[in-house]
Amino acid sequence: MKKDEIPQDLSALGKITKEVCYATDNSGKYTTELSSGWGVKIDALDVAWGDIEKRIAAAKQKVLNKEASPIYFFMEYRLMDLSILADYTGFWKWQIKRHLKPDVFSKLSDKKLQKYAEAFNTTIEDLKNMTVHED
C-alpha cells in the first residue's frame, strides 16, 4: 500500500484513536502513517454487529415466550457462549444448561444469581427483568 492511499474513513475506533498503518513512500521505503479507519472494515464490523443484534432480539423473544431463562438473553447480549460463562461464574456447563430453563431459573438462590449478575456486569434485579444499561 502506498502512503497516500491509506484510507481515512472515520470508524468507531477513529473517534477515540487513530491507528498506525505501515505503507511505502514514493521511493518504496516503508514508513508509518495514522489512519482513522477504512470503509471495508467498518462494513465488516457493522455486519458482525447486525448479526449480534438479531441474535439478541431472538433471545429476548424466546425468554418472553418462556422458552428460556433471562440468562440466555444475557449470554447473547454479552457475546458469551457456555464455556465463557462457565469460566466467569464457576458453574459447570451442564448446570448452566439447567439454569437456562425458566422453571429452574425462578428457583435459583440469590447467591447463584449474584454470580450470573457479576459475570454479565449487571444486578440481580436487572438480570431477572432483562434490563440493560448502556455502558
Binding site: 500500500m1 475506533l13 498506525v20 505501515y22 477504512w38 465488516a44 458482525a48
Partner: protein
C-alpha cells in the same frame, strides 16, 4: 509513583509492547517491525471445527505471547513471566515490579476494557498493554494501539487481567529481566533466527490448516461456502475473515506490510541477501489481501453474491498463497 517511560504508539499490541519494553536495552533499535519479524509474528491459520463469535477461527499472526518470548530469547535477554491463580497475588506482584521501577507487559481481555469503543469489545483475550506506574489510585497504562497513554482503576485492571474464555490471560505478566545492552551482532543473529522460524511456520507445518497451504485451503473452502452455508452466513464468515485480517493491530493487509517493513530494516543489518527485494513481494501480498477484502465487502454488503463471486474470492486466496509461498521459499534459500 511513575516510572520513566515513553509511550509510543504501534500498529500491533504485542510487537508494540515488546519494542517498547526493550527500548532501554536496545537504545530504541528494536523497532516494532524488528520485534515482529524476530518474533516470527507472520502466520496464517484456519482452525477447523472451532468457531469464534459464530464464525471461522482464522488468525494472521502467531500465538499470543510468542512474539515477546521469541524476540527476547533470540536476543539473549532473560525474561520473567508469571501467571496467577490468585487475583490478590497478581496485583501484589505487579505493585512490586512498579516499586522496583520496572514497566511491565500484561496480557488482557478486551471485552471489559473500558477505554475501548463498544463496537470493538469481543471476548478476545490476547491483547497486550504496559503498566508503567500508579498514581491517584489508578494504574498508568501504555496501550500501544492508542495514540495516548491512559489509566485503569484497580478493579478495571483486575477484571481484564482475569478475563475468561479462550486464551484466558490468568494475570499473565512479563518483562525483560535485565537491562543489558543489545549489540548489533545480536540483532543480526536474531533476525536470521526469526526468519528461519517464520519460514518453517509458513512452509513446513504438517496438515493444511496453517501457513501457505492453510491460505490455499481456505480459498478452496470459500468457494463452497455459498452452497454450504447460504448467502447470509457465508457473508458473515467473510466479514469475520476481513476483520481478522484488517482490524486494529494488523498494520494493514493481515500483518504483511509490517513484515515487509521488517525485511527492509533487516536488509540494513544483513545487506547482500536481497531482503529489500523480498520485502516488495510482501507489499504485493498485502495489497492482494486488501483487494480481496474489497471483494469480500461486496459480498457481505449484498452487492455481489453469485457463485462466480465466491469463486473469485477463493481464487484471490489461492493466488496469495502462491505469492507468499514463493517469497518464503526465497527466504529459505538464503545462505547466511
Amino acid at each position: 509513583m511513575k516510572i520513566e517511560f515513553e509511550h509510543r504508539q504501534a500498529a500491533h499490541c504485542e510487537s508494540g509492547v515488546t519494542s517498547n519494553l526493550l527500548r532501554v536495552n536496545s537504545n530504541g533499535k528494536i523497532t516494532e517491525p524488528l520485534a515482529f519479524g524476530i518474533g516470527a509474528g507472520l502466520f496464517f491459520a484456519h482452525i477447523p471445527f472451532i468457531k469464534i463469535n459464530n464464525g471461522p477461527a482464522i488468525a494472521f499472526r502467531t500465538l499470543p505471547g510468542h512474539i515477546f518470548n521469541r524476540t527476547c530469547k533470540s536476543l539473549g535477554i532473560p525474561v520473567i513471566r508469571k501467571k496467577f491463580f490468585s487475583k490478590e497475588k497478581a496485583e501484589l506482584f505487579l505493585q512490586e515490579c512498579l516499586d522496583n521501577g520496572k514497566p511491565v507487559g500484561c496480557q488482557v481481555g478486551v471485552y471489559y476494557l473500558p477505554y475501548f469503543p463498544k463496537e470493538y469489545r469481543f471476548h478476545f483475550n490476547a491483547h497486550n498493554l504496559i503498566v508503567y506506574g500508579h498514581e491517584d489510585n489508578k494504574f498508568l497504562i501504555s496501550d500501544p494501539i492508542m495514540e495516548n497513554p491512559t489509566t485503569l482503576g484497580h478493579y478495571e485492571l483486575e477484571r481484564v487481567r482475569f478475563a475468561k474464555g479462550a486464551l484466558a490471560p490468568k494475570g499473565h505478566i512479563y518483562f525483560p529481566k535485565t537491562t543489558t545492552e543489545i549489540t548489533d551482532d545480536q540483532i543480526r543473529l536474531a533476525i536470521k533466527k526469526g526468519i528461519k522460524k517464520n519460514v518453517y511456520n509458513m512452509l513446513s507445518i504438517p496438515g493444511s490448516f496453517a501457513g501457505v497451504s492453510g491460505i490455499k485451503n481456505t480459498g478452496i473452502k470459500i468457494k463452497k461456502w455459498r452452497d454450504k452455508l447460504g448467502l447470509e452466513k457465508a457473508g458473515l464468515y467473510l466479514a469475520q475473515l476481513v476483520r481478522m485480517q484488517e482490524e486494529i493491530g494488523t498494520g494493514g493487509g493481515g500483518f504483511r506490510y509490517i513484515y515487509g517493513a521488517f525485511l527492509q530494516e533487516a536488509d540494513v543489518y544483513l545487506p547482500g541477501n536481497q531482503l529489500a527485494d523480498i520485502s516488495g513481494i510482501f507489499t504485493k501480498a498485502g495489497d492482494m489481501w486488501r483487494t480481496s477484502a474489497v471483494h469480500a465487502a461486496g459480498i457481505f454488503k449484498g452487492r455481489l453474491g453469485s457463485q462466480q463471486d465466491f469463486d473469485t474470492m477463493g481464487d484471490y486466496l489461492i493466488e496469495i498463497a502462491e505469492v507468499e509461498k514463493k517469497a518464503f521459499e526465497t527466504l529459505k534459500k538464503i545462505k547466511w
